[in-house]
Every structure is written in C-alpha cells, then in structure tokens.
Symmetry: C2
Subunit: 237 residues, 2 copies
C-alpha cells in the first residue's frame, strides 16, 4: 500500500472515531506531515482522498474541516465512484445469485462497439438475478468477450465474477463508465424481480475497462426502484 493511501486510511479512521473535535479544523497540513513523517504534498494527497469521499472540506486560508453529516449519517451508502461488484459493496448481508441465462453468442452491432470488438468475436451472454437476503434485487445482463475471460464456469457465476477476474486471471480493472436512467419494466424484470408491471426500473449501463484500456465487460443492471439508489460526490478543487 502506498504511503498516501495508508495515511488516508488512518485519518479516515480517526475522523470516524471522533479523534478530532468536529467543531474545530483538523491539524494543519504541515503538522500532520510532520506527525506522519511525510512531505506536505503527500499529506495533501492523503487528505484529497477524504475530501473526494465527502468526509472533509477545506477553506483556503483557514483550515480543513470535518463534514458533520458524514460522521452523523451511518447509513450504508453506495457511492458510484466505485468500480467493484455488488458482493464487494455489501459485505454484511447474504448475497446469492441465480443464473438465468449463460450462453455464447455473436454480439450485436451495439454490443460490439461498446466492447471494441467486431461482430465475429464471440461473447458470453449472461443473465444473473442477484438476491440480497433472499430478496430479488437486481437483474444483470452482461456481455464479455470469451477470449478475454477464459474459463468462466457455473461455480464462478454463482459467486463473484469480479473476484475471479482480479484473483485468478490477475487482471487489473482500471475504471468504468456508467449511464444511469429510469425505464419501464419488461416481462423478464417482472418475472425475476417480482415487480408489478407499472413499477419503474433503475437501469445502469456499464462499461468496465482493464488497465490496458480495453473494455472487458458491457452490462445492463436493472434494479428494483425501491431497493437501490446511486450516490455521486462531486468536489471542485
């Protein structure tokens, strides 16, 4: 772990454990840099992360402060600035998967474009229903080039594909693009998500990239509207 990440983690812990008085600025960058035995640049970079997370804010010429609501509010918050899969986002509840469809096919033009392949490169087409504590939660339709993710099998599909990609294939995920929209439910949604035909759906279109810039996953997650929301935190510098 890098120095700035380690310092960031320690500071996050201190703030959440109310080590610092929430009404006062936290110690200035120079003092903290001295305490952590690093340069001020590195200290700033560590604090940058916490500012991004919405835990701190800065007043130029004055100091760095704790965002009160961030420590008051202890709800689980799924921040969209996350690249991980569902089973990493929710760790305190039981997540199960039901594989609805698992086949290999040639991609449509749309899918091929998003995966930066041609329509002759076969892809996995995968539909999974994810359940949290046995309750249907989200229906995921995923397209992945077969040559990039070899050895996908039934057992993996029932747990976490992301774990498999990271640990077994040792690929690193570089980032993702998401589009979030509301839409009407179709028959597949109604059947698996157990929703009524006039229930809306929160759809997240998602392209995942490896750190070589190549897209490896194109998916549509269709969420029950009463069980999911996306949070984004935006900070100007």
């Amino acid at each position: 772990m890098n120095k700035y990440e380690a310092i960031s983690a320690e500071m996050r812990h201190r703030i959440k454990e109310k080590h610092y008085n929430p009404d006062q600025p936290i110690p200035d960058e120079k003092s903290l840099a001295k305490e952590f035995e690093c340069s001020r640049m590195t200290m700033k970079r560590a604090l940058d992360i916490l500012v991004m997370e919405g835990l701190l804010y800065r007043k130029r010429g004055h100091g760095t402060f704790i965002v009160q609501s961030a420590i008051r509010d202890s709800r689980v918050n799924v921040v969209s600035n996350e690249v991980l899969g569902l089973s990493r986002l929710i760790t305190d509840k039981t997540i199960t998967s039901k594989v609805v469809t698992f086949e290999v096919q040639f991609p449509t033009e749309e899918v091929a474009v998003h995966l930066a392949i041609d329509t002759k490169t076969p892809v996995y087409y995968l539909v999974r229903l994810r359940l949290v504590e046995g309750e249907p939660y989200v229906l995921e339709k995923t397209y992945m080039p077969t040559n990039m993710i070899p050895g996908l099998n039934d057992e993996i599909l029932h747990s976490s594909i992301y774990e498999y990609i990271l640990k077994e294939l040792e690929l690193t995920i570089a980032g993702s693009h998401r589009k979030i929209r509301a839409c009407k439910s179709d028959e597949l949604d109604q059947e698996h998500l157990e929703c009524k035909h006039d229930d809306p759906i929160l759809e997240v279109e998602h392209v995942g990239f490896l750190n070589n810039g190549v897209p490896f996953e194109y998916s549509f997650s269709r969420h029950r509207y009463d069980k999911f929301e996306v949070t984004t935190v935006n900070v100007r510098n």
Copy 2:
C-alpha cells in the same frame, strides 16, 4: 486560470482535433513538460484531468493513450461530475423556466437536516419547470435558506439561479452530493411534465455546498425518463 488547467485545455483540444495519432501513445510526460515549459508533476496533473474525463488512459511503463470511443462518440454527454446547473450544461438549445411555486416557509425536519439549519430558519421553497426547446424536461423542487441567498426575485428564477449565486453574490460553489433513483410519477409530475401516469421518473436528490462547507441548496429534480440520463466516469489511479 492555473497552469495545469490551461495545459489540460490545450491537450483536450489537440486530442479532439486529432492532432495526435490515435493508434500511438501521445508524447511522454517528460517531452510534453518540456514543450509546455512546466515540471513533470504539473504535466501529470494536467493529463490526470483528461484521464478523469475518460479521454486518455495510461499504461504504466508504456505510455499514455487516447480512448478511441471518446473521440469517435460526439454525442452530448452530461457527466455527473459536474456541479453546474442545467443552463450551463446545455448551451446550444433554448432553455426556459416556468415558475410553478415560489414561497418562503419553515423547513421540515428532513430539509433542515440537509441544509444544516434548524426548523426555525426560513427557507425558499421553489418549484420550477424547465423546458428545452419548449418541451417539458424536468421539474425541480428547491429549498434554500433565505438568509444565504438574499434578493432572489422573479426575474432570476426565470433564468439561472447558479449565475446569480456565482456572479452577483460572488459565492463559490465547492461541490455537491447527489442521489439518483427511479420512482413513480405523481400528479404534479404528470401535470407539468406531460407524462402518463405509469411513466417512471428519474429523480436526482441534490445537496449543493459553498466552499465554506455550508450547504446552500437542497433539491429534487424529477426528470422525464425518456429525456435524461446521468453519466459517471470512474477511474482508479
């Protein structure tokens, strides 16, 4: 404008205008730093911005590359990592506003908590319908403490509140938190957005902060599901 912002803007321009061969890495950081007469750190910071925007990606030990799809796709893309109001996001179309409600009231507990005030501090309650090229687009319900945004009048409501805050009050907006969800339409939506009663709504709950960390705006934007989507770009470092 800061040096890294200026360099970033120039590089963005070059990339979009295909100044660099898309199949090759762009020049290395050291060379670019020399060309722009800055340090490598500043050059890196400038490129960081473009990586965040999804325009570039990096391969450690190899180079920095252009994301092909980013220059191919010329669609207007509303990235959620934006703090600005609607009238700054869409500049090539005519945006009009219809003020549905404009009154001063005492906030509910929920509104007070989000604005970090007590329930005895009066707030503006404002409902505006925003139309793009005359078509109803989004219904915005906004709460703002009256003491923070003095002098709000009918004329401002018909144009852009953000313009007023930035230019007249000379406040700087530091950031925002958003929650995005799907929900059913209510009668107010149906009346103003001209949608059917089973049309879903994309709701964005939004808290805007000034750079002193104080929230100044708490709003709910209810979008027609067929006219709006939110994009987020996430990059691991």
